[in-house]
Subunit: 236 residues, 2 copies
């Protein structure tokens, strides 16, 4: 649903830049603690103390970890309707950065706990969601630990196609850079580019521009991905 934001040519709604970090004081200045972020802005950084429970209302955020020398691993994409990093630890273990214009709802921890206690349906949804996120993280671990470059790329394209294909045209708008893809797949951007163009040469995908593709030979792409699951449910 709201996932589409990542890939639809949604015109950039006006963003009131509030700063790189989300401060509760600032947040409370808005009705219902809704804060907006422009692309490239951080919702929070690795090491920050959580200010509450964050929910993405609109847009897409990436969660990533950095190493001291700059190597980056993107953990997941979080889109509209999903919760961001529901950590109950005292420090965020990941950084969260908007890659589209984003609206974030920040709920105080106490209120979140109250809902968990009082609303069975809410509790169920939250638990299911955490289970799904765990499952996605494991899927990613299999990909990162045991798949080669072509399998990773094929898996990713199938994931994009599954979640973001425009049913009219059959094409997917890729609204992220090769570098972001690479940092998600544990590859370099050059390798991602090579794999995608190899798939194009073989006629398995159509890639008219760097930012658009369509799956032509699904069977072959699935078999190249090495797994049926194809990251389904990632960031879900």
């Amino acid at each position: 649903m709201a996932d589409q934001e990542l890939f639809s040519p949604e015109s950039n709604f006006e963003v009131r830049t509030i700063g790189t970090h989300l401060g509760c004081n600032r947040a409370t200045a808005h009705p219902r603690n809704v804060v907006k972020f422009a692309p490239q802005e951080h919702v929070f950084m690795q090491g920050d103390a959580p200010k509450g429970i964050y929910k993405v209302l609109r847009g897409t955020v990436i969660l990533y970890r950095l190493m001291a020398d700059g190597r980056r691993q993107i953990q997941s994409f979080v889109s509209g309707g999903e919760y961001l990093a529901m950590t109950f630890a005292d420090r965020h273990d990941v950084s969260a950065e908007a890659i589209t214009p984003v609206e974030i709802l920040c709920t105080p921890r106490a209120m979140f706990d109250r809902r968990l206690q009082n609303e069975a349906g809410f509790r169920q949804r939250i638990l299911t969601m955490m289970g799904t996120k765990l499952q996605s993280a494991r899927e990613q671990a299999l990909l990162l630990g045991r798949k080669n470059a072509m399998e990773r790329t094929a898996s990713f394209l199938l994931f994009l196609d599954h979640r973001f294909r425009n049913p009219e045209t059959g094409y997917v708008e890729i609204r992220m850079s090769r570098c972001d893809i690479a940092d998600y797949l544990g590859l370099t951007l050059e390798t991602v580019s090579r794999m995608m163009n190899k798939l194009k040469q073989r006629g398995i995908i159509d890639l008219p521009q760097a930012t658009r593709f369509a799956v032509c030979k699904r069977e072959q792409l699935v078999s190249l991905a090495g797994e049926v699951d194809c990251l389904e449910g990632i960031a879900a």
Copy 2:
């Protein structure tokens, strides 16, 4: 605590082999649904329908995923006191295999839900635990996606040392094969062996036998691991 089971020379308590799979009918034959498994036995397999919520009372279980051609990625180690794969989906996405003698408590889903509703402390523990598991999975993703063989091995040794060092001797008993380590780190067993022996040669660890080691130069090992976190909290 019960984690020690993996590494203490705990004599094999008598195991009543009940079969490779855990059947609820069998489970109910035992008081409080406790079932025992011998090493190499499966608690459940990828694709099985969950029979309830599993808790490891004693011993250590690995969670892993297999690819069609046999490649394996170990997702986590689950030790005494921890919950196994608290999935709320209709199929297990991973297989669970005992690597030591193990006792598993199987709680019916409905009873688990009831406790979640009625006991705030229980709810809190479960949520915190799922958060911790998610964090571990992300830590592993960084390791698998962005660390080289030496960094992975050093991280793993620090993790073992942190969790399983015998405070008397300073040594850790490694109660798993090089192959299991490799399948956890996304490497081959030969590479794991090479890295460990390179660390031994440099005097960074002592490795009198293949199954025992101690950290000699912690500073250097930490710096080789590339990160401070060192998988802390994995499987926790």
